[in-house]
């Protein structure tokens, strides 16, 4: 299997803050890699270093066998502008034409618009689009040049369910054609839907790396959320987080926790039980739950 991206011992410091701390990562052809981690874990810095926007303090990056800044490399990678980054006065079709013009063999603009469900927005100015629509345009632009490797930083943040599904379909069809993706996300479901492999980062380091099932298997955490101002100390709780009047309990044994809640007479107002995100899980496991 050919390695498309090879990062070796990447370290990046800003003044005295270390954003990346010795990260090594290989992405083979055709793999969708989901990168998870809390805010400030170093995900965006890693993407910016790998796409050549930032120089690493030390370490090296090789994309498709070349320097990330070289002309040959830029032709085969796809990157998205950041969330609010589209020039406001440009129409969507103009943006797509403009980006396509940089590549030797671009996807036809009509096809690209269709693939990301943007055809009806083609004549609208970017500044007049909703945040979610802008996000979809930004993601579509990453695929304009028929890249072999695409970097997507939080592609679906702020999208409604339909738009998210449309985006997932676009990414899947790219994957089916053999394209590789490095994807960061806050949504465990998204990574489960799309990724072949999951890498979890925290504090500038990679703390877990494996297949989706493997990572899930290591994590049995559930998140129980309820409204009760006066909860006593509970035995089955791995960690507690307070968010306004809502209390979030992370637990490894949800059945036992619910029994315990019944026993102590806790209020079940608006109780919710859901799978903890991988972030929750790893932070709980590493004993590093930050109050956010």
């Amino acid at each position: 299997m050919t390695i498309l991206a090879r990062a070796r011992d990447l370290t990046r410091r800003y003044n005295d803050k270390t954003a990346l701390d010795g990260v090594s990562l290989d992405i083979p052809t055709g793999q969708v890699l989901g990168l998870l981690g809390p805010n400030g874990a170093g995900k965006s810095t890693l993407i910016n270093v790998m796409t050549g926007l930032l120089r690493p303090t030390s370490g090296s990056v090789e994309l498709c066998g070349g320097d990330p800044r070289s002309e040959a490399t830029r032709r085969v990678i796809g990157v998205t502008p950041q969330e609010t980054g589209l020039p406001e006065t440009w129409r969507v079709a103009e943006l797509v034409d403009f980006v396509s013009a940089h590549f030797p063999d671009p996807v036809s603009p009509a096809e690209l618009l269709k693939r990301f469900d943007l055809t009806s927005l083609a004549d609208r100015q970017a500044g007049g689009l909703s945040g979610g629509q802008q996000r979809r345009v930004a993601v579509a632009l990453a695929f304009a040049g028929r890249p072999r490797l695409v970097f997507l930083d939080e592609p679906t943040t702020g999208l409604d369910v339909d738009a998210r599904r449309a985006l997932w379909d676009g990414i899947r069809s790219f994957h089916a054609d053999g394209g590789a993706v490095l994807l960061t996300s806050h949504y465990i479901e998204e990574v489960e839907e799309l990724a072949d492999r999951v890498v979890v980062m925290d504090r500038g380091r990679i703390i877990a790396d494996g297949g989706v099932a493997e990572i899930r298997g290591r994590v049995q955490l559930k998140r129980v959320t309820l409204t009760d101002a006066a909860l006593p100390a509970l035995e089955e709780v791995a960690s507690i987080e307070q968010d306004a009047d809502r209390t979030h309990l992370l637990t490894n044994d949800v059945t036992a926790l619910v029994r315990e809640l019944v026993t102590v007479g806790a209020s079940f107002t608006d109780i919710e039980i859901e799978s903890a995100s991988l972030e929750d899980a790893f932070l709980a496991i590493t004993g590093d739950r930050r109050i956010t």
Binding site: Y14, S44, N48, T51, G52, L53, L54, R55, R69, E71, R74, R75, I77, V79, T80, P81, Q82, E83, T84, G85, L86, P87, T89, W90, E94, D97, F98, V99, A101, H102, F103, L141, G145
Partner: protein
Amino acid sequence: MSSLTMTYTRRNLAETIRTPTMFLTVALVPVGVMLFFVVPFIGQDAQAITSATGTLVVFGVLMACVGHFSIVIATQRESAWGNYLRTLPGGLAPQMSAHLLVGTIVVAAAIIPIVLVAGLFTAAAAPLSRVLLAAGALLIAVVTFSLLGLAMGYLLSLRLASIANSIGFLPLAVAGGMFFDRADTPSFIVQIAPYVPTRGATDLVLVALTGESADPLSLVMLAVWITALAGLTTWGYRRDQARRFN
């Protein structure tokens, strides 16, 4: 011209026209200065108004090029979109060529009104051959001031570039002796003017337009400025690529 250059030119032009604040300022201010402060006083003195027209055209070019490029580049540098452009293939050349082409168009918007006013309402006159020669000389002024704007755009933040734009033109013009009569220019200005790029650019255009003699020193210094500003622009662009923006 590569098709990518055309693409950048079309986009930059559309952007300029859709948000026309800078464009209108550049198109109205120099001709306004001419109408209110020049034409009423020397409008019928053929020799004086011809020189004044040449000088004002150079001033228009200064405003157009510096105003346009410094803001466009500084904005692009600080924006997420500018960051994104750096991940696309294509390199520096098409972007730079497009900036120069659009600069020329903005310049036309600055100088055509001045030339029209001079031709229609004043005694200014020059043979066609001299006008064409002056147009060639003006192209060098365009290149000089475009490079100045680009260098400012790459080296200053958007805030500083905006401040420099609102206070910088007048000192540059005055230091270059643009708004003085040759005969009664203060001696301090006479001393420094040859080393200021506005002097060389004005001299070059006036030599071509009226045939009056120019200080060779100011022309040599103009060449030095062009070389230095081109170097600064390239260096600024490279340094920009190595920096962190988000």
